[in-house]
């Protein structure tokens, strides 16, 4: 086939080229066969790149490097591709495999095209005795500056420019290192300063006190990058939705909405190298007219569907799901395939339980055939509400990140699709109509769940119609004490804290996890707001107008009774805190401040946190040792690090967030919720480090599993090996050199999943200082009683 491979840089596979030197590249998923003619197996970055370069040369691929495509015009059969150097290439068809890296934001100032301006720093030790200016105040810029100034012997004079006064966009740890380097005089930090002109050997700066010119031999600009979306849209390709996470719309042969232009690889939503390579193979086969070719994932899907009744083919099942399930109807066959790869299918017999109340789970289900029953009354199994074919369930767990609210069982023989949390979120982000449908259903169900049995969807139709989902940033007040608005709210995502102003200070009254409602007092008795409610973390609430809610209460006296009982209980707590405040003011302040401290340290989005009571901790580190010894010899907990308030210490250890930030960007989807609600990383991790960067609490470490140590008795009696706990870095390194290196993978607390007896850290603490808590139980007034007695 007549072809040309255009590459922007001077080497192929730039993303992999940029991995850190010697990185162990993983070849997941292992059950997928490699179709491509190039070889690929897990191994060192260098080996893989060398193999590819050799095989590309042998296969006589027509490669042109330093060919940055800036525009694609024309239509199928007659495209013209313009390159940055001005040349033009004609093609009948185009395959875009440009990844998701995008282009670095370029400096827009006079002299920005001089050769000493660069947008990447591969090896900071390369430069000596230079005046180097780093532009950009994010993590990348700071890390580069620190790298350049790390070794004083290099003699570089490093300056970093920040347009603003603070480094708000960077991680705390990086800012701290930078400030230290500044205090030592190793780096010059210029705040509220922007570059205005680049010249040979110097740079002109605009500072608060006017213009200044400093010597400068090299400029490293790290001002973020532009995702490739805009470029692709200019080629006439449509994306599935406006959402940032959306991918281009594709046919089963990877063709976009612009006929003749194809998209594959990370850009198409398949970030794993093996997928990328297979799609490269497939797309060329399709272009070559081989329309019979089945996608490489066909056997995986066939295996998934094997246990379903009716011996249908993969395509038939995909079509069944798409046509039956309402939220899947807009999807293309390719999207269906992708979705199903991240999903599971189940066939349930009549009366079989699908999930039960309080079971952790954040997946969403859709009914392809049959129907299910929801047990709405925990005390009576026979009170149920049916959900029919085509509809969904489990969406509350997905949205709120909390445990299942009720038990669901099959009403008849039922086939259901279970979308993993990630697959479901991707679906909602890319299919707007699915998103709307799920939103409506979830609001309706949440109301039914909270106000219990006896209600039908018809009873609340009006209320649901009037509902509105409101996003609330962390710390923002939803209800202000003393105000006389009359809306009622349900916490949909995140959590809230309720506070009352007592003696000029906000006093913490209670914590409201997702799934609770608030604001009912003012609606029911028409009073002013008696306390303020604000978001503990970034949250979403559903707002219902007070009148609509009142109308419901008028129609349903049962509901009014329930609401009144809840209200009385809440009043009681408020009164209790208030009375304590009068007699034990100090204790209440302490309780309030401790609650605020814990919320600030992630308890507000946690499901289960390790806390250390430093009034009891003797510093023996037995918790860390036990952690290491029950997990491949590496501790997932740093006891000393972390914040402390009033002797309550939050060590660096996973909070098992309701909506784990770490899950956001994991190429193999290796992070999931385990059977007991714990967030775990499984063995498909490829060690890319994304999760480590995404976790706001710094609890994930990247490390290689060390070889096993000699046993405890051997150590006790003969002093063999390093003893209990994590072996020193030197020991691990030495042993690894003997036993052969293993890949550095992401590790974190898994709450001792699968270990009978539960978390080893807590069990191994001799004094009872280490405790694990969930926010609802810990942020309750019970603590106040404890503290005062």
């Amino acid at each position: 086939m007549s072809h040309i491979l255009l590459e922007k840089t001077d080497h192929l596979s730039d993303t992999i080229f940029k991995y850190q030197k010697g990185k162990h590249v993983m070849a997941t998923p292992s059950n997928l066969v490699l179709r491509s003619d190039l070889d690929f197996d897990a191994g060192k970055r260098e080996t893989i790149l060398d193999t590819w370069d050799r095989q590309i040369a042998e296969g006589q691929v027509n490669v042109r490097t330093n060919a940055d495509v800036t525009a694609i015009a024309g239509s199928t059969g007659a495209f013209t591709l313009s390159l940055k150097d001005g040349s033009v290439i004609e093609a009948e068809a185009v395959v875009l495999a440009i990844g998701t890296q995008g282009n670095p934001n370029l400096l827009k100032l006079p002299g920005a095209d001089l050769p000493h301006v660069q947008y990447q720093l591969d090896d900071p030790t390369e430069y000596v005795d230079e005046h180097i200016t780093v532009i950009g105040s994010g993590d990348a810029g700071i890390e580069n500056a620190l790298g350049l100034a790390a070794d004083e012997a290099q003699g570089n004079v490093v300056t970093i420019l920040n347009r603003r006064a603070d480094f708000a966009r960077a991680k705390g740890a990086n800012v701290k290192l930078l400030e230290e380097a500044e205090a030592d005089g190793r780096i010059f930090v210029r705040r509220e300063t922007s570059p205005i002109e680049v010249r040979e050997g110097e740079i002109v700066l605009e500072t608060r006190d006017g213009q200044e010119t400093i010597p400068c031999h090299r400029i490293i600009a790290r001002t973020g990058s532009q995702p490739p979306r805009a470029f692709i849209e200019q080629c006439g390709v449509e994306f599935a939705s406006a959402d940032r996470a959306a991918f281009p719309k594709l046919t089963p042969s990877f063709e976009t909405t612009q006929p003749g232009i194809h998209v594959i690889g990370a850009l198409a939503g398949y970030p794993l190298i093996k997928h990328c390579m297979n799609q490269g193979y497939d797309v060329i086969e399709f272009l070559d007219g081989n329309t019979e070719l089945k996608p490489a994932d066909e056997p995986i899907l066939a295996e998934k569907f094997a246990d379903l009744p009716g011996r249908r083919t993969v395509d038939e099942w995909l079509e069944t799901f798409r046509s039956q399930v309402i939220i899947l109807q807009e999807l293309s066959p390719l999207q269906m395939r992708e979705l199903m790869l991240d999903s599971t299918v189940h066939a349930y017999g009549r009366d079989e339980v699908i999930f039960s109340r309080n079971e952790p789970g954040s997946s969403m289900f859709a009914i392809a055939e049959g129907s299910v029953l929801v047990e709405v009354d925990p005390s009576d199994r026979s009170v149920t509400v049916p959900i029919g074919t085509g509809s969904i369930f489990g969406e509350v767990g997905l949205i709120s990140g909390r445990k299942r609210g009720s038990t669901i069982r099959a009403a008849e023989s039922t086939v259901a699709v279970e979308f993993s949390r990630l697959a479901a979120l991707k679906l909602l982000a890319t299919a707007p109509s699915a998103n709307r449908a799920v939103n409506r259903i979830s609001i309706e169900r949440q109301v039914l769940q909270i106000f219990g049995s006896g209600l039908t969807p018809e009873d609340i139709a009006e209320l649901v119609e009037a509902a509105e989902v409101v996003k609330v940033p962390a710390g923002e007040v939803v209800i202000e004490e003393g105000a006389d608005d009359k809306d009622i709210y349900i916490v949909r995502v995140g959590s809230m804290v309720v506070e009352k102003d007592l003696g000029g200070k906000p006093v913490f009254l209670s914590y409201l996890p997702a799934g609770s409602y608030f604001g009912e007092m003012a609606v029911i008795d028409g009073s002013k707001r008696s306390a303020s409610v604000r978001a503990a973390i970034k949250s979403e609430v559903i707002r219902f107008p007070g009148e609509a809610f009142n109308a419901l209460l008028d129609a349903k006296p049962d509901i009014r009774d329930r609401a009144l009982t809840d209200m009385a209980a809440r009043r009681e707590i408020n009164d209790f805190v208030e009375s304590r405040k009068a007699s034990f003011g100090g204790a209440v302040d302490m309780y309030s401040q401790t609650a605020q401290f814990l919320v600030d340290n992630g308890l507000g989005e946690a499901t289960d946190v390790l806390l250390i009571d430093e009034k009891l901790c003797v510093g023996c580190d037995n918790c860390e040792k036990a952690c290491a010894d029950s997990h491949d010899g590496l501790s997932r907990l740093d006891r000393e690090a972390g914040r402390t308030y009033a002797h309550l210490h939050v060590p660096t250890s996973c909070r098992h967030c309701e909506h784990p930030h770490c899950m956001a960007d994991c190429p193999p989807n290796a992070i999931r919720r385990g059977p007991d609600g714990e967030v775990v990383i499984d063995e498909t991790c490829i060690g890319c480090g994304n999760c480590q960067r995404n976790c706001p609490y710094g609890v994930i470490r990247m490390d290689a599993k060390p070889p096993t140590k000699p046993g405890l008795l051997n150590w006790l009696l003969f002093g063999a090996g390093p003893g209990p706990g994590e072996a020193s870095y030197a020991w691990r390194k030495n042993k690894a050199a003997e036993a052969g290196e293993t890949a550095k993978l992401a590790i974190k607390c898994d709450m001792c999943s699968g270990i009978e007896g539960g978390p080893a850290c807590v069990r191994a603490c001799p004094t009872g200082a280490a405790i694990r808590v969930s926010p609802e139980r810990f942020l309750s007034v019970a603590r106040l009683e404890e503290g005062v007695d």
């Binding site: 309080n358 199994r381 009891l616 003797v618 807590v762 069990r763 001799p766 004094t767």
Partner: protein, 298 residues
Amino acid sequence: MATLSPRDRDAGYAEIEQRRSASHESFLAHRAYFWARVAGFASLFVIITYLLVDVEPRHNGGSWYGYTLGTIGAGLIVWLAWLGIRKRRPTPGSWSLKAWTSAHVYLGLSLVIVGTLHTGFQLGWNVHTLAWVLMMLVIISGAYGITVYASLPQRLSENRREMTREQMIESLATIDKQLEAAAQPLTREDADMVIAALEQDVFASGIRARFAGAGRSDATRRALEHISTGRAYDDDPDDLAQRKVRALLGKRAAQIDQIRRQMQTKALLEIWLYIHVPLTIALLAALTAHIVSVFYYW
């Protein structure tokens, strides 16, 4: 799980919750002083029976009553010593070291009664009494242990001010680097004092150093005194440099104090284990000798 009824599954999840979360209670108060009560009643029971049971000619280790107490005591000692293994073996199972320590402390204390009444107060210069003395020493060191476990952690926490050990050492290194640069413009004599401070190994190891604690006089404090005593606070450039050094020396002294206080508190929390554990091993040896000799001379 599939075979369980839904109701059981509900209960199962509640149980998981229960199991996972240790209640917020210290080892001494564990389960509302359960082991204190057990040990107290057991001791009381032993004292009463000791007074009621009539052994001829008088209470001693060799009577049936003495044997009973001896067997219980020896069993207890072996079990108490097993804590050293339990602590280092994070095996699966629903044990908690807190519960073990709680039982260890109170049952260990009850040994005072059990062990002593076992002897029938027949002490002398022999291997039998050696075992009793060692036992008492282990118990006394244990008693010291729980007093420090109860009183010192708070001090450790307050002194730490959220810093980890590495951060304290790093912070000292940072101050040192700044001092080195700041001392450049000083006079020869002053600079020598600063260099002496920097060169002194502040944590010269050794047991004495670990216990010495904060506020000790050392090269840093001497340099601080030297540079600050009787100096005028003029605004000349010389004095500005001195002021900077003075401030840094003050910071350095405070940082050293924090580290020393940390080392001292940790040492106080650990030192007794260096008596408790070796004496336990000696006790186990003496106990074996005691038992062997008793049966040998029977």
